[in-house]
Amino acid sequence: MPQRFTTPAGLFARWRVIPTLICATLLLPRLVQAEDPSPGEAIYRAKCASCHGAAGEGTLKSYPNPLVGERSIGELTDYISKTMPEDKPGTCVGDEAKLVSEYIYGAFYSPTAQARNKPARIELSRLTVRQYRNTVADLVSQLRGPGQVENQPGLTGRYFKSREVRNNNDRVLERVDPVVAFNFEDKSPDEEKIDAHEFSIKWNGAVFAPDTGEYEFIIRTNHSTRLWINDQRRPLVDAYVKSGKDNEHRGSIFLLGGRTYALRLEFSKAKQGVNDKKAKERPPEPASISLEWKRPQRVEEVIPNRYLTTAHPTESLVLKTPFPPDDRSLGWEKATTISKEWDQATTDAAIEVADYVVGHLGDLAGARRGDDDRPAKLKAFCRHWAEIAFRRPLTEDLQKAYVDGPFDKVNDPELAVSRVVLLVLKSPRFLYREIGSPAESKNDPFDVASRLSYGLWDSMPDAPLLQAAAKGELATREQVVAQVQRMSKDLKAQAKLREFLMRWLKIERVPDLSKDAAQYPAFDAAIAHDLRSSVEIALDELLTSDGADFRQLLLSDSVYLNGRLAKFYGIDLPIDAGFQKVSLDSNERAGMMSHPYLLSDFAYSASSSPIHRGIFIARSVLGRTLRPPPEAVTPIPPHLAPDLTTRDRVSQQTKGEACQSCHSMINPLGFTLEHFDAVGRFRKDENGKPVDSTGSYRTRQGDTVQFDGVRDLAKFLAESQETHSAFVDHLFHAMVKQPIRAYGPQTKESLQKSFVSQNFNIRELLVESITASALTTVDANIQTAAKNDAGATAEK
């Protein structure tokens, strides 16, 4: 049964006045249902209800899904005329089709109707997996303190004239090294101060982990070396003993994205063990060292300067316990369900944290083994732990239950600490958001604090935020905005925003970009890696720029290239050039839609894919809903239709009526990018024929806009309120993780208005969105207990 359009909660298009009036007038007949039904309703009952249900809820036998979506009345009319009723298409046309469209639009089909029938609400949520990990890491960091945060890019290198990196008397040189990639050959790093036979170097600082996942660190050297990442007690790579011919040493570690981790690298050119006094009689040996990494799913590279800093963060607790992934069926992490696996994971994680805390009581609780008042100190630590973990002050009852209880039950205070940590982390007051606040208060200050920190950082409130809450300084909009602006400068906020943009660009997962070796022999994993880095750098630049103008994502006429990429894309740069901004022909390219990385991703191994590109534009940029194809169709392989251009082939493939219901929108969008091949290079012809990159789009209002090429399309998109609306929706949901409609009907509108008036500043939109979600009235939530989102689609 062909499936049509349904809308996930939270996406509703702005409607125009006239349809509104029509809807409003349609409401009246509903209230006097017992009397004569409206003509539209009568038609519906006669021709549609048998398959679609009396109120559009669907029927098990014929069409089980609710009849909901976001097409305009005009589009519905068209569609119904052509294809409905399914068993007798063409029997509901002209005025009839129009009347029944208007009826269903107002009664249950449109987003407004949906909102009216099944109001959205703010649901009780647990911590998402990412929020859980971040919260635990920050719990520990708050107890420890952040360490020294001031920094510059690179690592501090200290050079010693002997093999002993711990001997400060031998330190003769200190400087900031941008990266660690040295070939000293048989010479010394500093001819005056250091003898070439024997020296050692210690690098200190921190490494920034952009993504969450398994990182592999690699040291290439022919001498003694050790590397510490995060845990400064146990080295991640211990190649102090050089054994055999191995000059490459590796260690893997799981890291949370958006944080910096202390890094220490030691290198010693000399024999270790007994001092070899005869070494100076022989010529100096060659020496080299490079510090590299392999990010999750990326390729090996020398750790770039932009990810190294001279800061000294304290050790983070990065949980190793695996969690089942969160539900992403709506495009954002929905944490309103739990499972047995999740419950088991929280138990295992709580045990992991308890072991860690007990193993580090010295620096976390300031209570060392010999202290006289250790039990008292540990109890005080537990009170503090419970309070910050619950994200609100601890009442006497809670203190008795969570702290005093375990201490009373056992003699060993360390065991008691372990149990308190366990109990606190298994408690719903930790696992669930905004639970346990006093019933009367609508905007309990600690709930507000939680909304701010989880919205901006996906983590718990920090000390200044909790203090503001305690003092009642989170009550007015001004106070909240001030906090939000402070907090959005934190690395975690930038990381969350960047991850959101990667999702918006549909490149949050690292794809396999293997291309046809015959056609694109030079396109390898290194190029793919550099292309992704190019996008990352551009996004970082955008988010830190003055205006943070969203339209740049669509309209920018420059791209970041390094030497390797420049060579591949025919730009003149030295082969070893680092990443730099390069201007492109603005007639050919525009923004991220024409970034070679996206173009390569939305393509096959040897041909472009207008369908993938069209889907990206439709879903991400324009916020349209698209269900999976009703019929499985194998794409026509290019070699079976060598005379056709990609455009022709795709049109051929999707010309069926059922396909056209979506492809009439997807294809004309994707075709505008046809000047770009499977690796994102510009082409004038394909298969000997000139590329036709004209396209079009029928707006939700029913107007059709024409484009010729990507710049036309980009200009339209940048100005279209559909784009603005979709972006506001996407960002709100990614940050707040609750349906936007639950915050009242005005919220979406006002956010969109302010987005426009502030010149599409993404940072400002973030501030407005978080602020709107923070000071919400609970009345908006307490609607009926009806379950939401029954008709949600499985969106990618």
């Binding site: 647990r126 003993v241 054994s243 055999g244 270790q272 007994v274 001092n275 045990i351 366990l422 639970i435």
Partner: protein, 441 residues
């Protein structure tokens, strides 16, 4: 590492994932196999050689007397084998100490590397695996002899550094295994999950109570989430109560709290590690164990023996220094006492699920890096075997004509039914196993 062995372990039993954390406290898999007896190997290492004339029995054969250094082993003389004339013939990189410990259980050369000894060329790690790991792999490959860990590497006062002097066991070339010399860390490895279970049990009531309190104050829709949570807590309660410590055949060891790692505490630490080893055998966590006292060139000041000088220093005194030789004898006697204590504990403990005592099914091998400290000789490496675990003919003092120790290593493997033709450097395996070990008296 813990996790994978658990999963495999329980996959074999056909148990569900939910029961995973708890079932391991039940009596081991080994009890399922009643036909062949259990066999165990323990290797004890002490450094710096011995004083030959106070160590080796003069006699050869079944009628022999134990000298001063070995006198603590008198109660077990009828289960004892002393092997004189077994030599470490392995050469290559590294000085005698490094090769003494690095080739002792591996029988093969060290890699060239950057660790410089007192002389000779600098070396890296061993180029092959050690016999304890070879036997462990053999036992783990067979379901009937598979255990939770296979082997456990214990230590006493092993220095924090990882280098050729501090590693005796190797899982393979360049793969040294770090001995655990912290009894609390070892306890955690063996019994950590049990402690966690007890803690989880203790918090359940409070959790349920708070869940109910919270559920009462939220709307019906959201309440279902907390109700689901409550169900999970109830399920956890059931799972925890079905597996409890009572199911284990013996009590969980109680460790004395707050014993610091220091030379003064060496006797206490030694006892704690031996207790944990006994316990881990009772639970059948492993069939192979090593116990490494300090390290090669270990320089402990053993003050409780009234000795002020470090062991290594002392070991370089000349043969004519009577006082030093007497002190060195006292040191080795103390190590023999540790072996005797271990043997006593094994003898006192009935073999779980079998007949006789654990000592009936275990062989302890006490060995050393050097034959003699001041000469650095690698000839006549001390090897004293105790226990009836390997069907060797015990109660004898054997003297060999300077045979390579590879042949002894192979004999140990053969004792487990692992009939390897060579071990370590094949040049030193000629003649195969030492058949005298199993010759009838």
């Amino acid at each position: 590492m813990f996790r994978t062995s658990r999963r495999e372990f329980l996959r074999d039993l056909g148990l569900s994932a939910a029961a995973l954390p708890f079932v391991l406290n039940l009596p081991s898999l080994g009890f399922a196999n009643q036909t062949a007896r259990k066999q165990r190997l323990i290797v004890i290492f002490s450094p710096n050689g011995v004083v030959p004339n106070t160590f080796w029995p003069d006699e050869e054969g079944a009628d022999f007397k134990l000298k001063e250094s070995l006198s603590p082993l008198e109660p077990f003389k009828n289960r004892l084998l002393s092997l004189y004339g077994v030599c470490d013939k392995v050469r290559g990189d590294g000085d005698s100490h490094m090769r003494g410990i690095g080739c002792l259980l591996t029988g093969c050369e060290l890699f060239p590397g950057n660790i410089q000894g007192g002389g000779d060329t600098p070396a890296g790690w061993s180029s092959g695996l050690s016999i304890d790991q070879e036997i462990k792999n053999f036992l783990q490959a067979n379901e009937a002899t598979r255990t939770r860990f296979g082997s456990l590497e214990f230590g006493v006062l092993v220095p924090e550094r990882a280098d050729t002097w501090t590693r005796m066991s190797y899982a393979g070339p360049n793969k040294p295994i770090t001995p655990i010399d912290d009894p609390y860390q070892m306890f955690s490895k063996l019994y950590g999950r049990l402690k966690d279970q007890e803690s989880l049990k203790s918090i359940l009531d409070e959790l349920q109570g708070d869940l109910q309190k919270l559920a009462a104050n939220i709307n019906a829709e959201d309440r279902r989430l907390l109700e689901e949570q409550t169900t999970f807590v109830r399920e956890m309660e059931l799972e925890l109560s079905s597996a409890s410590a009572k199911d284990m055949g013996h009590a969980v060891p109680q460790l004395e709290l707050n014993v610091k790692e220091s030379a003064e505490n060496m006797p206490k630490l030694s006892k704690m590690q031996i207790e944990l080893m006994i316990n881990s055998f009772q639970s059948d966590f492993a069939r192979v164990a090593t116990l490494q006292y300090t390290n090669s060139v270990g320089d402990t000041r053993m003050k409780w023996l009234d000795i002020e000088k470090g062991h290594h220093d002392l070991s370089h005194e000349g043969d004519d220094n009577q006082k030093a030789q007497e002190q060195l004898t006292r040191i080795n006697k103390w190590y023999a006492e540790q072996m005797a204590y271990l043997a006593k504990r094994l003898e006192e403990t009935p073999e779980p699920g079998g007949n006789g005592s654990m000592l009936d099914n275990t062989v302890i091998v006490w060995t050393n890096e050097l034959g003699k400290g001041n000469s650095h000789t690698l000839d006549d490496i001390p090897f004293v075997l105790l226990g009836n675990g390997l069907d060797f003919t015990m109660n004898r003092s054997l003297k060999f004509p300077k045979v390579p120790h590879n042949r002894l290593l192979m004999s140990l493997a053969h004792g487990f039914g692992h009939h390897i033709e060579r071990f370590g450097n094949p040049d030193y395996c000629a003649g195969g196993v030492l058949s005298e070990l199993t010759a009838k008296a």
